[in-house]
Symmetry: C2
Subunit: 441 residues, 2 copies
């Protein structure tokens, strides 16, 4: 496939006009200012369009699309205890599958090609992602509440291990299986060490929720002999492998040094953190320390969308107002976090930028949308002016998955039908809430 | 025209399914659960769609689309002095016209039907709005720097007065002309009093930038004998008429009491305030005082879009994280601010909700977009999950202006062509900046 006469955001995030980009198999095989000599088959006219790398969502819980808008205007405690936990208790694999497929449809619409995803029913998630044609680093979250528990008897780990053995590297590398410790507060030191050991031995990457709320961060010190979550996990060896730490809102300077030293990716989730009032991740400080900072949407139940353009704008703006400094977190830093930093977090080092030999994970943006004109600077427009609706095409591993509002792999009507049916099945098992039918105020 | 079998957000912001809404002339003439007996002509099938009021943008500078993305990652002082002021110095009426038309196209795409707009070249703005079919409360900003100056000799006021006499109530009431004092810091007490007197006498509404930055708020007290901007303007009689105060980031409790007593609308511009690092408008406090709180985008040069869905999400989230309380600023409060509070600010009291007799200012949202499912609560989904790209149809005064990506009144290709030509003309008069061609970091 060939994109001709298209504007390209190159690997230095510089804008190049009238380029030709050829895709062969799952790779970018040609980038140039003139048509290639080789035949790349079908050509797509790129005039009035921008070709840029797709987005890598560094933290998500895909099946939580099922609870989108279900629990609002509640404190974090009520959000979890009164709504999310009872809802999740009634989930089943079929619901998780359809919820994940809906998440993939939404992600592709908004330019996301690959997602770091932590949840239960991970096998059903894998199935949905493979069918969608998208990519994901999927982890079955491990929890443990008793020090007596050995990992050999931990249900979550057994599922994670079986998943790793069956699916890691599946679908031509589109699927990676990772190990996830849900969080410091929901696990034990013994399980943390054992999970880290397994990751090291097997070569799996790891995911964790890290210092999302002030309470979690402070209470950890009481529980763990004065150690912060990052210090405690580092001691457990959890950061000795490729690791993604989600949220990172309440890290100390020392915690940031650990992340920098251990090459841990910080996955900032600005919308979810603002919506649940958890705080603002200190992206400027992380970047100054040289930490790989990526962007995550978190689950749709706390966002409530997977719109990566919106997420980028929140990412860029949250720290400007926090520090009273409009020069912080530039559009170029934001695009880098959304693309190659996310790919790096996922161990997809041959992805995330437009260069020959890289995976063809590409999106096409409409430059004729009124909100994208004029184009004094396209990188500024991508972060501050683009809307999720401006994505014309999304391609992962050289395959077009979404184009002009249509999916090539997902039957969206069937997916929505089955999502609604799954949700009704779950709600049918829960006590009715009088406010369900009304707007919550 | 008849919308049939459509889901409707009613005047109490409650969701009603399978409704019929008939439009006759510029008004909503029928709302019911069964098809109307009268003939409303052409019917549009509403299955899988939501009909809700259009948005009223309570603060904007439409021609500033021309400078979208032109000045980024700069302090407010550099943003204004090094970029925006020199750019504006080279503006002309033709550029302002095309920039305004582009703003109307973008606004309609994102569901905005009416805009409170303050700028220069207001006659060119009026022309663009009338042609677009949209509505606007347009004000020619008045500035004055010498106490010697009488309003009779103020260029801005002379233009404003001529505009008021020619255009107030034009295009069937779509156009309202208002008086704008640019701000306390850019005008004199004499001009403020005289402008307020003219507004009272003529029946014009007024607009002003109020306490946008901490510096502006504090410096006012030094200049004005200890009075805050709101106190000073109140003394000048500026709030004795229907008034919209934009930004309101640094208001004191006493200032809020003045706004409440004088029925002044606070137009919060969360994206612009975060992007320029001005601060966060205290929406919960304003709402507790019973103040009419509406939402504005500010100009595209400091936003950099006119995407009202994005603006609503920032509006709802900014104070949750500021106060560490996720229950603040609910989706229902947000939709109210975006619709009937904005209409009220503009003196359009027969607008902003779906009731028989009201102006037919309506938008249709795609409920089959993956990000809009499931629909546990549609009001939550409108604020937190919808994307600007989900708007299928925008109607103002009963006339469809945008439908399925197409404009009925605006030649968008011609508009973009002339916007780019205008921008190039302006840039050609400015000294070149070496970084213009590159991403600003």
């Amino acid at each position: 496939m060939l994109f001709s006469n298209i504007t390209v955001l190159d690997e230095k995030l510089e804008v190049r006009e009238n380029r030709y980009v050829g895709v062969r198999g799952d790779r970018i095989a040609y980038v140039g200012g003139a048509p290639p000599k080789d035949d790349f088959g079908e050509a797509r006219d790129g005039r009035g369009k921008l070709l840029m790398p797709g987005f890598y969502n560094a933290h998500a819980h895909s099946p939580m699309t099922l609870a989108r808008g279900y629990a609002e205007n509640l404190s974090l405690r009520d959000w979890l205890n009164a709504r999310i936990f009872p809802f999740e208790d009634e989930l089943d694999g079929e619901a998780a599958y359809w919820g994940s497929l809906l998440a993939m449809a939404e992600s592709l619409r908004f330019g996301v090609v690959s997602t770091s995803d932590m949840y239960f029913f991970a096998g059903d998630m894998v199935r949905a992602v493979i069918e969608s044609g998208a990519k994901a680093n999927i982890a079955r979250a491990v929890v443990a509440f008793s020090d007596d528990e050995d990992i050999a008897h931990n249900k979550g780990f057994q599922e994670a291990k079986a998943l790793f053995e069956e699916y890691d590297g599946a679908a031509g590398g589109r699927i990676k299986i990772e190990m996830a410790l849900h969080a410091e507060y929901s696990s034990t030191g013994r399980i943390a060490r054992q999970l880290a050991e397994y990751a090291k031995k097997s070569g799996a990457g790891v995911q964790i929720h890290l210092s999302e709320t002030a309470a979690e961060h402070e209470e950890c010190k009481g529980r763990r002999g004065g150690l912060t979550p990052a210090e405690y996990l580092n001691e457990a060896g959890f950061f000795d492998v490729r690791a993604t730490a989600a949220h990172c809102v309440w890290l100390s300077a020392g915690d940031m040094d650990i992340l920098a030293e251990k090459n841990v990716t910080a996955a900032s989730c600005p919308v979810s953190n603002m919506k649940l009032a958890s705080g603002v991740c200190d992206v400027p400080a992380l970047l100054r320390k040289g930490i790989n900072v990526a962007i995550g949407t978190d689950g749709a139940a706390s966002n409530n969308s997977l719109n990566f353009f919106e997420e980028m704008k929140f990412f860029a703006l949250a720290n400007k107002v926090r520090y009273g400094d409009p020069t912080l977190v530039t559009p170029a830093e934001t695009v880098a976090a959304a693309t190659f930093a996310g790919a790096k977090a996922q161990g997809r080092t041959d992805s995330g930028s437009i260069s020959v030999g890289n995976k063809a994970d590409l999106i096409v943006i409409d430059l004729c949308a009124p909100n994208m004109r004029p184009a004094h600077n396209l990188v500024n427009n991508i972060v501050y002016s683009a809307s999720g609706g401006d994505v014309l095409l999304t391609m992962a591993d050289g395959r077009i998955l979404f184009e002009n509002g249509e999916y090539t792999t997902i039957d969206i009507e069937k997916t929505i039908f089955n999502v609604e049916r799954s949700v009704n099945r779950i709600l049918g098992k829960l006590p009715p809430r009088p406010s369900d039918a009304k707007a919550e105020r």
